[in-house]
C-alpha cells in the first residue's frame, strides 16, 4: 500500500513537472519567435542597423525568457525538492 502511494506521488510529480515546463514554455516561445521575426524584418529592411537590432533582440529574448525560467524553476522544485 505504501509502495503504491509512493508510486502515485512520483507519477504526480513527473506529470506536474512536465505540464509545468510544457505549458510554461509556450509563452516565451511565442514571444521570442515574435521578437526574432520582427528583428529579422527590420534587418532585411535596413541591413545597416543589423548590429543594434541583434543586440537589442538578444536582450529582449532574455527578458521574454524570464517566465519560461520561472516555470523551469518550479519544475525543478517539484521534481527535486517536493
Amino acid at each position: 500500500m505504501e509502495l503504491l502511494a509512493e508510486a502515485i506521488a512520483t507519477a504526480g510529480k513527473a506529470i506536474g513537472a512536465g505540464l509545468c515546463m510544457g505549458i510554461g514554455a509556450i509563452g516565451p516561445g511565442v514571444g521570442e519567435g515574435n521578437a526574432v521575426s520582427k528583428a529579422l524584418e527590420g534587418m532585411a529592411r535596413q541591413p545597416e542597423m543589423a548590429g543594434t537590432l541583434r543586440s537589442t533582440m538578444i536582450m529582449g529574448c532574455a527578458i521574454a525568457e524570464t517566465t519560461g525560467i520561472y516555470s523551469l524553476l518550479i519544475a525543478f522544485l517539484i521534481l527535486f525538492v517536493l
Partner: protein, 301 residues
C-alpha cells in the same frame, strides 16, 4: 544512477551572531571579488600616455562601459559607471567560475543575485527619497489614482525579485540541465555498451563492419551517410571491444564531450547574456530614479 540536485553546501559556520554559514557561494563570491579587485589595481597602475598591449583592451572596455552608461542613463549619471561595471564583472565572473570544476557558480545561488537586486532597489529608493522627499516618494505610490497603490507596491517588490530570479534561474537551471544530460548519457552508455559487450563477437563485428563501411564505400553514392554510419559503428565497436576485454569498465564513454557543447551555451553564452541583461536593467532602473537636474528643477518650480 541517482541524480541529486542540491543547493550550495555549507563548509563551516562561524559561531558569532547566531552562526554565519560559509557556503560554496560565499567562497566563490569572495574569490571573484578578490580577482576583480586585484585585476583593477594591477590594470589601473602604470598607465602610459601611449597605450600598449593590455592597456588598449582595458581602455576599450572602460570606454564602452562609460558610453553605454551615458547613452542609457544620461551624462549626469556617469558617476554610476564603476558600480555598473562592478556588477557586470561580478556577475559574469561568478557565472564563469563554475567552469573551473571545483568551485560552484556564485550566481547559481539565489542569495547572491537577490543581494544585488535588493541593493539596486535600495539605491532606487534612496534616490527617490533624495529627489522627492520622503512624503513625495510615498505619494508617488498613489499615482495615477489612489486605487492603484497596492499594484504600485507589488510592482516595486516584484522588480528586484524578478531581476534576481531571472539571473539565478538561468544559471542554476543550466547547471541542472547539464547534469541531467550527463547522467542520462552515462546511463545510455552503460546500457548500450553493456549490451554490445555482452558477447565478444558483436563488438568485433561492429568494428570490422564500421571500418569496412568507412574504407570501401567511398566511391559509391550516399557517401556522407556511409561515412556517418561507418563512424558510429566503428566507435561503438571500438569501445565495445575495449569494454569486452575488461578495459574502460564502467567508464561512461558517451558522456565525454557531448555535455561540453551544452555547457558552452549555458555557461558562456547564457552567463554573458544574463550579466548584460542584469547590467542593463540596473542602468535603466537607476537612470529612471535619477532624472537630469534641469527636469528636476522644472518639476519643482
Amino acid at each position: 544512477m541517482n541524480l541529486n540536485v542540491t543547493g550550495a553546501f555549507i563548509y563551516f559556520t562561524i559561531p558569532i551572531l547566531g552562526g554565519i554559514p560559509i557556503t560554496q557561494t560565499t567562497v566563490s563570491s569572495l574569490i571573484v571579488a578578490i580577482v576583480v579587485i586585484i585585476a583593477s589595481i594591477r590594470l589601473g597602475k602604470n598607465l602610459k600616455k601611449r597605450p600598449d598591449g593590455v592597456q588598449v583592451l582595458v581602455e576599450k572596455g572602460v570606454t564602452m562601459l562609460y558610453d553605454m552608461v551615458a547613452e542609457s542613463m544620461g551624462e549626469h549619471n556617469l558617476h554610476w559607471a564603476p558600480f555598473i561595471g562592478t556588477i557586470f564583472l561580478s556577475s559574469i565572473l561568478g557565472s564563469l567560475i563554475g567552469m573551473t570544476g571545483f568551485l560552484r557558480s556564485s550566481t547559481a545561488d539565489l542569495s547572491c543575485t537577490l543581494t544585488w537586486a535588493v541593493l539596486v532597489s535600495l539605491i532606487i529608493w534612496y534616490n527617490g527619497i533624495k529627489n522627492n522627499g520622503f512624503v513625495g516618494w510615498l505619494k508617488g505610490f498613489t499615482e495615477p489614482i489612489v486605487v492603484m497603490t497596492p499594484m504600485n507596491v507589488i510592482s516595486e517588490i516584484a522588480q528586484p525579485v524578478s531581476m534576481a530570479f531571472r539571473h539565478f534561474g538561468n544559471v542554476a537551471g543550466g547547471g541542472v540541465i547539464t547534469s541531467i544530460l550527463y547522467v542520462a548519457l552515462s546511463m545510455l552508455s552503460t546500457a548500450v555498451l553493456g549490451a554490445i559487450a555482452n558477447t565478444k563477437i558483436v563488438p568485433i563485428a561492429l568494428l570490422i563492419a564500421g571500418a569496412a563501411l568507412l574504407v570501401l564505400f567511398k566511391q559509391k553514392t550516399h557517401k556522407k551517410l556511409h561515412a556517418v554510419i561507418g563512424a558510429v559503428c566503428a566507435v561503438l565497436g571500438l569501445f565495445g571491444v575495449l569494454q569486452a576485454f575488461g578495459l574502460l569498465e564502467g567508464v561512461p564513454v558517451l558522456a565525454l564531450g557531448i555535455p561540453a557543447v551544452l555547457s558552452c551555451y549555458f555557461d558562456i553564452f547564457s552567463g554573458f547574456v544574463q550579466a548584460y541583461v542584469f547590467m542593463l536593467l540596473t542602468m535603466v532602473y537607476i537612470g529612471n530614479s535619477c532624472p537630469p537636474p534641469e527636469t528636476r528643477e522644472a518639476v519643482q518650480s
